[in-house]
């Protein structure tokens, strides 16, 4: 067998070192971390393990408790805090357990959200030091750079995935910029300067990512042009189906901007389908990609806004409405604020209100009993505060009036954990005439909710049995 030519070829291209030494080194470190987490079993015959077997569970328990407690405490720390270096170390460890380049890129985008949370929290925190803010801005810039580098790596595996990840990174940056920009007019001059500095830091980081997205879009377009007609058609069909599925999974009602993004996505899908029907595959590909991008932006907006809403607390708070009221009967004693400092929602965060009654139809003379419920729909604790004892009120066919309330002059508050609710029960002594009536109930300073009832004579509500 004459294999001289291939031996020569192998010598030219393959005999020398191909692996990137940085990869060899970093994989060795990650492997070491993996090995320490999955140690060899007793069967390996390590003698010292006999002793280790006895003390290992206790040691593991101690390490676990310390790591968990520290980890939880460090998670909410900010640059300048004692626990902040631990937070960074934990992130590094988490990253070391991610082996696929896509999951590492996704994690880098998540880390960017953490850096954005920190810079946003420090911008509105009056006591934050200049050095902490500087550190936060530097860390953000560094983080966006590593996220972009990781995205560049996954580009080699497929432009589509890299493009999605880059869009997600860009939308994350954009969403946090929007939140801080919205916040700026509502705060005093000093804090405003800090917030605008944070917006500026985000702006600087966004430019590079935007360019990367444009490059990836061009690359994807180039790939489409070199793909055969049927293959491209199938690829686009898969993209369209995936886009439709993703739209269904997003709760667009939660945010107006997300709704706009999804509307754009739907329009792009419609145009893509039209182009596909006309065999204009290149244009269909561009439109399908645009739809996927709009969806990725919507998702990132939703996630970032939910996360950042918990940290951008303005320095001043407490609702302005402090009015008297007819005393409602709270269903439970208001919960005191917990002693730990959980990150509260901004003051403009409102509870979800609802009125509950046994039935929307009541008979004449029947006492009207209603329950007003305030729930916390957010992922962070919600604090409701009043400057008097009056918390809630109601009126029938009218709006609750301040002048009719009698309140004690002391502050009160209710602390709602995510998903929790608080109820007030009201009973009306008033006898209502026949017909439709509107109940308006208010959690003072936090909004009003309406409920329609129908007052009917006795016989209209009597159950009708089948044999009657």
């Amino acid at each position: 067998m004459n294999d001289d030519w291939i031996k020569k070829l192998a010598k030219t291209v393959g005999r020398e070192q191909l692996a990137d030494e940085a990869w060899v080194k970093s994989t060795r470190a990650r492997l070491g971390a993996y090995m320490s987490l999955h140690p060899a079993s007793m069967k390996t015959g390590w003698r010292f393990l006999r002793l280790f077997r006895v003390i290992a569970p206790a040691m593991a328990a101690i390490v676990l408790v310390v790591m968990t407690t520290l980890g939880v405490a460090a998670k909410n720390s900010l640059p300048g805090d004692t626990l902040f270096p631990i937070k960074i170390q934990i992130e590094k460890i988490e990253l070391s357990f991610l082996f696929s380049s896509q999951s590492r890129a996704n994690f880098e985008v998540q880390r960017t959200t953490s850096r954005l949370k920190e810079i946003s929290a420090l911008a509105v925190q009056p006591k934050a030091t200049a050095s902490s803010k500087k550190e936060a801005a530097e860390r953000l810039a560094k983080q966006v750079k590593s996220a972009s580098e990781q995205i560049a790596k996954i580009e080699q595996n497929g432009t589509t995935k890299a493009l999605e990840t880059a869009v997600s990174l860009h939308a994350t940056l954009q969403a946090s910029k929007d939140i801080l920009t919205d916040l700026a007019p509502k705060i005093d001059a000093d804090a405003k300067a800090e917030v605008l500095a944070a917006v500026d830091a985000i702006d600087k980081s966004t430019g590079g990512v935007q360019q990367a997205i444009l490059d990836l879009q061009n690359e994807a377009e180039k790939n489409d042009k070199t793909t055969s007609g049927d293959d491209l058609k199938n690829k686009i069909l898969v993209r369209i189906e995936s886009a439709k599925q993703q739209i269904l999974e997003i709760d667009e009602s939660a945010n107006e901007q997300v709704e706009i993004k999804l509307t754009i996505a739907r329009e792009q899908i419609a145009v893509a389908e039209q182009n596909l029907a006309n065999n204009n595959f290149t244009e269909a590909g561009i439109r399908a990609r645009a739809a996927m991008q709009a969806i990725a932006e919507g998702k990132a907006l939703l996630e970032t806004k939910a996360q950042l809403a918990t940290v951008t607390t303005l320095p001043s708070s407490s609702p302005t409405t402090s009015v008297a009221s007819a005393s409602p009967v709270p269903s439970a004693t208001p919960q005191p604020s917990p002693t730990f400092t959980a990150t509260p929602l901004p003051p403009e965060a409102l509870p979800k209100l609802s009125i509950e009654m046994k039935s929307q139809i009541i008979t004449v003379g029947e006492p009207l009993v209603l329950v007003l419920r305030a729930s916390n729909p957010y992922r962070a604790p919600l604090l409701l505060k009043w400057s008097s004892s009056c918390q809630a009120d109601f009126a029938i066919d009218a709006y609750p009036e301040n002048s009719s309330r009698v309140c004690s002059d002391f502050e009160s508050e209710i602390y709602l954990q995510p998903g929790d609710s608080f109820t007030w029960q009201f009973a009306s002594p008033e006898l209502l005439p026949f017909g439709m009536h509107t109940i308006n109930a208010e959690v003072i300073g936090y909004g009003m909710v309406s409920y329609e009832i129908n007052v009917v004579p006795h016989d209209e509500t009597a159950p009708v049995l089948p044999n009657q």
Partner: protein, 169 residues
């Protein structure tokens, strides 16, 4: 052979680059090769740390790599989406016996070789990579692929002929 943590680290140092090279010639990108190579050692440690015996470390690692690459393609991941399929990278070699001199750019040559090896049918690419790029003997390849040496020699012969034709086109 029982492998402990220290021994395993030594094995990594000895084989990481070799396994990477094997993966590199069998998948479409550097990143995929890195991901699969890292996974080879994770799988190997999972096996070794459970106290299971390993007769030949070399054959064991290459076998894991081979299986992971098969899984990789079975899962239908998009291949050659970027550089390898780029028409601007196609080369033209006129002579039937490939004249390496015409391909001055080493990177370009590397891409061409990888692309054609990946296109070889029926396991020919695998034996060629193991024999010529990983420098293993026919006996060692037979051990990895759990087959007879004779079979490997036949595959090598046919694979080289096919590769020669592909590159000479």
């Amino acid at each position: 052979m029982i492998i402990d943590a220290k021994e395993f680290e030594r094995i990594y140092d000895e084989f990481a680059r070799k396994i990477y090279k094997y993966c590199f010639f069998r998948v479409s990108s550097k990143e995929e090769a890195e991901d699969i190579s890292a996974l080879v050692f994770i799988r190997a440690w999972d096996h070794a740390s459970a106290g299971k015996r390993v007769d030949s470390v070399q054959a064991f690692l290459y076998r894991i790599a081979s299986n992971l690459i098969i899984d990789h393609y079975r899962k239908g991941r998009e291949r050659m989406e970027t550089t390898l399929d780029d028409p601007s990278h196609q080369i033209d070699i006129e002579d039937r016996s490939p004249d390496l001199a015409v391909i001055s750019d080493r990177e370009l040559l590397l891409k061409t070789v990888r692309k054609n090896i990946a296109l070889l049918p029926g396991g020919y690419g695998e034996v060629i990579v193991l024999r010529y790029f990983n420098d293993l003997s026919v006996k060692e390849i037979a051990e990895i692929l759990k087959t007879k040496e004779n079979n490997i020699s036949v595959r090598l012969h046919r694979g080289i002929e096919k590769l020669k034709k592909m590159i000479s086109k």
